[in-house]
């Protein structure tokens, strides 16, 4: 019997599910497998780091040795063998490229394929009239290219790989590195502090509104390699920056570890908008392969009237363990957290936020939408804490979960701690399924069941999608549809 056209289309659509799953054959230089003090020294030497940073890494490593891997999150995975991972892998280059033209064309091709043009004049995703975006491209353990550097320098904005910042701006790095997430913070932060290889560094000087969006694109390519990047963004008084983060990885049967740390420092009247579309390889429908994503992200609103906004769309990774947090220290500072977490097949996500209110009149908003399909488990875990001095602090939390299918789970674990009489906290959460009526209505208008589901889910997520910068919103909306493919019927 001949294969029908429908089957062909179906197969095509299934293989399109994770279109970033290709492997690029790029010669890499790696450190010996495993983790030891020597590896930490090796990484530090590779990066030509000053003594103080090596000492810091070693302290973190020694501290990490004394820690135990946390088990409180509602995720289930086989024990990670930390000696079976390459902690350093970098594409081989003869000399360090001086400009974009000198970057290995093969690397550029990879990013071209991912839809991230590393050419300065081009505009992302073909959206006309959209602003330029400066991109720092991190490939496995190192940053391979950073665009629009000169343009940014004119404004005084520093945007470069963190390894360069260590050399060129040691005073800033030394002052802020580890000040928001100390290496003693948690197991994965300690590990990251010991072995982080690259990441982005960004400093926005006083009163500057960053002329374009900054973006880092993370790509894991090499097999058996962990990615440990560290991002540090400092918004000085009355400055503003919008920062985007994207990530993908090849499809592989093995699990790969990604343990990043992101630190944001926001001073008086400054604002950082941080958006993430997390699309690491999620594993196949039987849960084979996928990235273990253990990330510590935290923002410190140090100054008065500081504002930070986290927006995340989590569709990838086999395991997600991520709690972007805000420490609202300065009076009147504002923290926001908008999140969509979509889990399908055997994915597990334990994600949420922490809002620590310390200053007066601080306010925070949490909007979290969790969607579970297939046999996935998704958990919202969040903390809202009002300190004794947080007079008139406000928090409003909404977390909604949507279940698609009867084999998945959705969980909500909020912690609410109030020590301030004048603080007001409101928390609401609901869990429900997509109603038959909504589905029926869409279908009788001529949409297929899958299209209907995508439409309804997009509506469910709208509040969060609207917070994303335009280029990301388009991508995220598509991702929502793709991630749920195969979850109905």
């Amino acid at each position: 019997m001949a294969v029908s056209q429908e089957t062909v289309e179906q197969v095509a659509s299934v293989s399109e599910k994770y279109k970033y799953g290709f492997v690029s054959d790029i010669e890499a230089e790696t450190a010996p497998i495993g983790l030891s003090e020597d590896i930490v020294r090796f990484i530090s030497a590779k990066k030509e780091e000053p003594e103080w940073l090596l000492e810091w890494r070693l302290k973190a490593y020694r501290y990490w040795l004394s820690m135990e891997e946390p088990t409180w999150a509602k995720v289930d995975y086989p024990k990670i063998d930390y000696q079976d991972i390459y902690y350093y892998s970098a594409p081989k280059t003869k000399d360090k490229p001086k400009s974009l033209d000198e970057v290995d064309p093969e690397l550029l091709a990879v990013y071209e394929k991912l839809g991230i043009p590393l050419k300065e004049q081009e505009v992302l995703a073909g959206v006309e009239g959209a602003a330029n975006v400066a991109v720092d491209a991190v490939f496995d353990s190192v940053s391979v290219a950073t665009t629009f550097r000169e343009r940014l320098e004119k404004e005084g904005v520093i945007f470069c790989p963190i390894s360069e910042a260590v050399k060129n701006h040691p005073e800033l790095v030394k002052k802020y590195l580890g000040s928001v997430v100390p290496y003693t913070d948690n197991f994965f932060a300690a590990l990251n502090s010991a072995v982080f290889t690259d990441g982005s560094f960004c400093y926005i000087p006083k009163g500057v509104r960053c002329p374009m969006e900054l973006s880092t694109y993370f790509r894991i390519n090499a097999a058996q390699t962990g990615q440990f990047e560290r991002t540090l963004i400092i918004a000085d008084d009355a400055s503003y920056v919008s920062y985007l983060e994207g990530c993908t990885a090849p499809m592989r049967d093995e699990n790969q570890l990604h343990a990043a740390v992101v630190e944001l420092v926001i001073l008086d009247d400054a604002e950082i908008k941080y958006s993430t579309v997390q699309n690491w390889y999620p594993g196949d429908e039987n849960g084979v392969g996928g990235i273990y994503n253990f990330v510590t992200k935290r923002a410190a609103c140090r100054g008065k009237n500081a504002k930070v906004s986290w927006t995340q769309v989590e569709t990838g990774s086999a395991i997600t363990w991520k709690y972007p947090s805000c420490i609202l220290q300065g009076d009147n500072s504002i923290g926001e957290f908008y999140s969509i977490a979509i889990t399908n097949n055997l994915q597990q996500a334990d994600t949420g936020t922490k809002m620590i209110h310390l200053g007066k009149n601080t306010s925070s908003t949490i909007i979290s939408k969790g969607i579970s399909a297939g046999r996935a488990q998704s958990t919202y875990r969040g903390l809202v804490r009002m300190g004794r001095k947080a007079d008139h602090a406000r928090n409003h939390t909404v977390c909604d979960s949507l279940l698609i299918g009867d084999k998945c789970g959705a969980h909500t674990v909020p912690y609410i701690e109030n020590q301030s009489r004048t603080a007001k906290i409101e928390h609401e959460a609901t869990t429900s399924k997509v109603s038959e009526e909504q589905l029926f209505y869409c279908q009788q208008r001529g949409l297929s069941e899958e299209e209907s589901m995508a439409l309804i889910v997009n509506g469910f997520c709208k509040e969060v999608l609207q917070k994303l910068p335009m280029e990301f919103a388009v991508e995220a909306q598509k991702l929502v549809g793709i991630s749920l493919e195969g979850s109905v019927g």
Partner: protein, 427 residues
């Protein structure tokens, strides 16, 4: 086991001597049960704050009393008024033992059997107890239980009146009082129970209540926790519900220096429902913890929870509630609401409303709020000529009114209403 808390160590050291004097000492199955309880307890010790379920409640004052020596304790909350409650049927326990002299149980309808646990253990009645893994206070209770209420209601029997059980503690006592109540309602029976915990002095009360409702049974279970302001009250209630059973629990907590009211409801039969409500009024340095777990193990079941707290001075309130819906338990509705009112700059509340859901065709929600009295409402009342103090009182009463409304029994409602008004008038 070298690092046990001093109190746990004292319990373990005392066990052999104590077990010989406790009821049921001659009965092999009872002593085996006690031994198992002690072993479970020894493995657990008293929970500390690193234990997730005890994150918000610090038991150091109980388990390491010497740690607090030399510290000037804040003034204890005023003693609880001994408000009368006219009861035709009352069972009284004094210092953990049944007092026949003070109890009035004559005239209970046929089919309602009320006895003391000490008698049941003594005459060899075999009781089955829930698993005590992870619950140190349940295990401790099993090892040292000495008395309690054993109530069983026969098929179809309905008590029109209220059965009151009063647990009174008098005077200081170093070791705890471990009461064990076993309540069984047969098919189609119905009962209203008011459990009162009162006392004076410094003591440690550790009551465990097991409730089992057969098909179509209904229990209205009220609890007043008005222990002495120097006392510790750590209570655990476990209820299991068969088809169409209806369990309603309301707890009013105003006493104790440190208290925890832990409730587990296991809904095992279709169309069964559980409603847990309560109010806690705390001042001084009182600490009150309400922890609930509602398990929906089968489809077509309902549950609801509403807890409200008023916290003054240095008082600390805790609410931890969890709704757990098992796989395939479809068509379940579960709601949960926790509200706390902070009246002082030093009062605090911690809240953890949790949902764990493994079925898709369910509707679950939870809400939690905390804050001070609404300034606009206060201003409005004052603008109408009502003095600030009265206006505050009115608003607090209104805040509590909608949870007190859920008390179905009119007499209990009037009683609880009176107690909360009295509490407010002492501010």
């Amino acid at each position: 086991m070298s690092s046990l808390t001093p109190l746990a160590q004292r319990y373990i050291d005392r066990f052999d001597t104590a077990a010989r004097q406790l009821p049921g000492a001659d009965n092999r199955s009872v002593s085996d049960l006690r031994r198992a309880g002690l072993e479970a307890f020894a493995a657990l010790d008293f929970p500390h704050r690193k234990v997730e379920e005890w994150k918000f409640t610090n038991l150091t004052a109980l388990t390491k009393p010497t740690a607090n020596e030399g510290r000037v304790a804040p003034a204890p909350a005023p003693a609880i008024p001994d408000q009368p409650f006219e009861a035709r049927f009352e069972m009284v326990f004094v210092n953990g033992r049944f007092s026949a002299a003070e109890s009035r149980l004559d005239g209970l309808p046929e089919g309602i059997s009320v006895t003391s646990l000490a008698d049941s253990l003594g005459n060899g009645t075999v009781l089955s107890f829930p698993s005590q893994e992870k619950r140190a206070f349940l295990a401790l209770n099993t090892a040292f239980m000495e008395d309690g209420l054993v109530l069983s209601v026969a098929e179809g029997v309905v008590l029109d009146d209220i059965l009151v059980v009063t647990f009174r503690s008098e005077g200081d006592q170093e070791t705890g009082r471990h009461l064990r109540n076993v309540i069984t309602l047969a098919e189609g029976s119905s009962l209203t129970l008011l459990e009162r915990h009162v006392g004076a002095g410094a003591y440690f009360s550790n009551p465990v209540t097991e409730v089992s409702l057969a098909a179509d049974a209904r229990l209205d279970h009220y609890k007043l926790q008005a222990e002495s302001p120097e006392a510790f009250h750590l209570a655990f209630t476990d209820a299991e519900l068969a088809e169409r059973a209806d369990y309603r629990n309301f707890s009013l907590s105003i006493g104790a220096k440190l208290s925890r009211n832990e409730l587990t409801t296991r809904i095992l039969g279709r169309e069964a429902e559980s409603h847990l409500n309560g109010a806690y009024l705390m001042r001084g340095s009182q600490h009150c913890d309400t922890t609930t777990l509602t398990e929906h193990r089968v489809p077509d079941t309902n549950s609801s929870q509403v807890y409200k707290g008023v916290l003054d001075d240095h008082a600390h309130g805790v609410f931890q509630g969890k709704i757990h819906i098992f796989p395939d338990a479809q068509h379940v509705a579960g709601d949960q609401l926790s509200k706390a009112l902070l009246l002082s700059d030093y009062a605090a509340v911690d809240c953890k409303p949790e949902l764990e859901i493994y079925a898709d065709d369910v509707k679950c929600s939870h809400g939690a709020t905390s804050g001070e009295l609404d300034e606009q409402a206060l201003f409005y009342l004052q603008s109408r000529g009502i003095p600030l103090a009265s206006a505050r009182k009115m608003l607090i009463e209104a805040f509590l009114a909608d949870v007190l409304e859920t008390v179905g029994n009119e007499r209990v409602k009037v009683y609880f209403d009176g107690l909360s008004r009295h509490w407010l008038s002492e501010a």
